[in-house]
Structures are given as C-alpha cells and as structure tokens.
C-alpha cells in the first residue's frame, strides 16, 4: 500500500473540508429519529400489562359512564337485546392543535355472556388507547420544546367480519411524523362458544407456521412477477444482507377470518415490505391448510 498516487488521492480525500453545521445536523437528525422510532416500536406491547391496574380502570369506567352517552347506551343495550354481540365506540379522544392532531376511538364489545372475556378485551382496548394518548401528548410537548413539527395519531377500529359465528375486530394505529406508520391488531371471537380464537388454537399443531409461511412467500413472488411494483422483502426479490428478509410468520401472527371464512394473515407497514406497500394482507387458500385445521367451523 505505498503507491504514491493512491497516497495523494487519500490525502485529498481526508482533507475534505468538514462543514461546521455537520455536528449540529447529526445531533438533530438523531433526536428526530429517536422520536420517530419510539412511535414505531410502540406496537401493542402494553397488552401484557392489561389487567394489572384494576383500580385505575375502574376509575376510568366511572368516567366513561359520566362522560360518554355511547357508553351509557351500551350499558342499556345489554339486557335489552340479550346475547347479541356488538362493538361500539366506548370513548373518544381528540386533540386538534395546529400541527398536532390526535383522533383515538376506543372500541368496546358488549353482549357476551362470558363477562371475563368481554371485560378483559374491553380493558385491553381502553388501556392501549389511554397509553397511546398519553404518549402522544408527551411527544407533542417534547416536539414543541424542540422547535415544533407535525405529529399525528389516528386510532380506531374496523369490524372485518361479523356473522353468526365470527366477530373479527381490527384496531389500527396510524402515527404520522413526516412519514407514517400503521399498526393493526386483530381479535377474533367465536360468538357462539364465546371464546377468543388465537391463531394456534385453530390448528392441530405448529406445522401451520411453515405451511402458511411458504404459501405467503409464493404469493409474494407471484405478485412481484405480475407487477414489479409489488415489492416484498423476501428471498428472490430483495437481495440478502441489507434488510431482514421474511422467513416465517410468528406463532401468534396477526390474523383475522374474513366474511368468506378464509384465513387472512396481516403484516404491519414496514414488517415485510417497504413503506409504500402499506399494511399487507394475504388470504391463505383453505385447501393448503385444510389438513391441519382443527375443524372447518371457522375456516372453510
């Protein structure tokens, strides 16, 4: 390594003038990234703590009754319509302040005879959203101190399926800081048996993880070859080493059952594809999982 020419070129390179604003800019970019990142990582980690602070949630229920006419109606409806299960907006938080916007709708399920299930779901919904709103306010204050910016959070729910047997409810959180991130979280209930259906509970054993993952990978490749704008982080499309490639769904992967009784696997924005693809969903053909399903009650 002692060629003079290379040495000279290297010297030129190392003599590149470093602008004074570099340091300031780097620190600012890190701050901004951390702010963004904490939003993306938020997900629904608080699920685990649901049910811990009974006293706090009791207080909130009382506030709920006092302040929300919807809630009052919900309470009234239970005895009137018997065991008709329904989902209503329990509380709403909203904040609209120039560049800071929050709109959070908290769903509540009613009409289940199984009150343990109903309460635990409703408590979870309430706590997640309480936390979401508190975090939003905290970030907003932080941003105001750091010279302002745009911040938005939009959270609500959609009923994916509501038939005689199945209720699939999807809650979403859209965070906006420059670009946006979207998180979906589904709950599926068997309305007749009144149980929460987890993904593993639908299958005889764990083999579904591999079978579904393979099917999804094939769907990704097929979609990409039909339309190259459909881009997924999967072997065969994205090269290895840079982004984490999709290998397998998780045991408790987000899913719901659609109105055609098909299993739909859902991925959050950025989970398996670049941001422009948004939230991506794959309908799993029933014939590919029929052998390993516990029964054909839900999926057929």
């Amino acid at each position: 390594m002692n060629d003079k020419k290379i040495e000279q070129l290297k010297e030129n390179y190392l003599n590149t003038r470093i602008p004074e604003e570099l340091e300031f800019m780097v620190i600012k970019a890190i701050k901004k990234s951390k702010l963004n990142e904490s939003k993306k990582n938020r997900k629904f980690k608080c699920l685990k703590v649901a049910g811990t602070s009974l006293a706090a949630s009791l207080a909130l229920f009382i506030i709920g009754i006092n302040t929300s006419s919807v809630f009052a109606q919900t309470m009234l409806k239970v005895p009137l319509v018997g065991n008709i299960v329904e989902v209503l907006t329990f509380r709403e938080y909203s904040l609209d302040e120039d560049t800071y916007n929050a709109n959070i709708k908290v769903p509540a399920i009613s009409g289940l005879e199984n009150k343990d299930l109903e309460n635990s779901l409703n408590e979870k919904y309430l706590q997640d959203n309480e936390k979401l709103y508190a975090q939003f306010k905290e970030e907003m204050e932080d941003m105001k101190e750091n010279g302002g910016g745009h911040l938005g959070v939009d959270s609500g729910y959609i009923i994916k399926t509501d038939n005689d047997r199945i209720l699939s409810i999807g809650r979403y959180v859209v965070n906006t800081v420059g670009s946006s991130s979207t998180i979906f979280k589904y709950d599926t209930i068997d309305k007749q048996k009144e149980v929460l259906l987890t993904l593993p509970s639908l299958f005889k054993d764990d083999s579904y993880v591999d079978i579904i993952s393979e099917n999804i990978k094939n769907q990704m490749l097929e979609q990409h070859s039909a339309d190259e704008n459909k881009y997924y982080w999967v072997r065969g499309i994205e090269e290895e080493g840079f982004v984490e490639l999709f290998e397998k769904i998780s045991i408790e992967q987000n899913y719901y059952i659609n109105s055609d009784n098909k299993l739909v696997i859902s991925f959050d924005k950025y989970e398996v594809a670049p941001g422009y693809m948004g939230v991506v969903e794959f309908v799993i053909p029933t014939e590919c999982i029929a052998d390993i399903l516990v029964g054909d009650d839900y999926i057929n």
């Binding site: 060629d3 020419k5 030129n12 780097v26 990142e37």
Partner: protein, 161 residues
C-alpha cells in the same frame, strides 16, 4: 443481540466526519452531502432491525450511505440533463487546492462503480469482502473492477499488493 438506538447514535456521532466525507465523495457538494448524511441517519434508525450484530455496524451503515448517495445521483441526473463533465466544471469543490489535480480529476471522472471501490478500499481501508458487502456485489466482481479501476488511473498494481 440486537443493536440499541443508543449504540447507533453513538456510532453516528463518533463517525460523522467519515460519513460526511464518503457522502461528499459522491455528490461533491456540501449541502447535498449533508442531506445524505441526514437521510442515512433516518434510514438507519428506521431499519435498525435489519442489523443483526454490532460487528456489522460499519458495513451496514456504509451501505446505507452509498445507496443513498447513488439514489441521489440518479435523481439529480434525471433533473438536470447536463453531462458529468459540465457538472464537474460548475462544482466549486473541484478547486485547485489539490496537490495533484490531474490525478484527482482522473479519479473523479471514473464511473461510479469503479470509484466507489477505490474510495472504500484505499481511503476507508476496508477489506475487499467488506467493500463487496457494502456495494452488494460479489467478491470476485469487486476484485476485477478494482484492477480495472487502478488500470484506468494508471496505478501500478504491483506497488499496492
């Protein structure tokens, strides 16, 4: 073990000048180089999960910078239909402060695929394998391109190895 945000932040602050130099070597303009450094930080934080082990931090991060810089050049090419020669002549960075103007010009005029290798291999002192990783090319391709690049600069390979 995954990488913490704090580790990335520390690395980015520590290495900011190297990152800036690398970005600058592509775009040769202060504002654009700063933009690339900034974009790379955002990109790094948002794709933190793709970095598995701390020891790959440098190649991982360099790859982000290089990709950002190349993307940027592509966009700029689309915006301004001026060939590189003319562009370079507008560029205040191509000033006379270099000791060896012709040699520097020869390097600047090298197509990007060759120049990247020279910069990463000799100025950043990275191993061929690391250069290949950063550029997303295979090791043999990088070796061949390195020799071609040196030939184009009329640098005697034997002096280097």
């Amino acid at each position: 073990m995954s990488i913490s945000k704090k580790q990335i932040a520390e690395y980015v602050i520590e290495e900011k000048e190297n990152h800036y130099r690398l970005a600058y070597s592509y775009v040769r303009n202060v504002d654009d180089a700063l933009d690339i450094v900034q974009e790379s930080i955002y990109k790094a934080f948002s794709s933190i999960d793709s970095l598995k082990e701390p020891k790959y931090m440098k190649t991982w991060y360099y790859r982000i910078i290089v990709n950002n810089a190349i993307d940027f050049l592509r966009k700029r090419k689309r915006l301004i239909l001026v060939d590189d020669e003319v562009l370079a002549s507008y560029n205040p960075a191509m000033d006379d402060s270099y000791q060896n103007f012709d040699l520097q010009k020869a390097l600047n005029d090298l197509p990007e695929k060759y120049r990247s290798i020279i910069i990463l291999r000799y100025f950043e002192d990275l191993k061929i394998e690391e250069v290949a990783e950063i550029l997303g090319r295979n090791v043999n391709t990088v070796k061949t391109q390195l020799y071609t690049a040196l030939e184009k600069l009329r640098i005697n390979i034997n002096d280097l190895e």
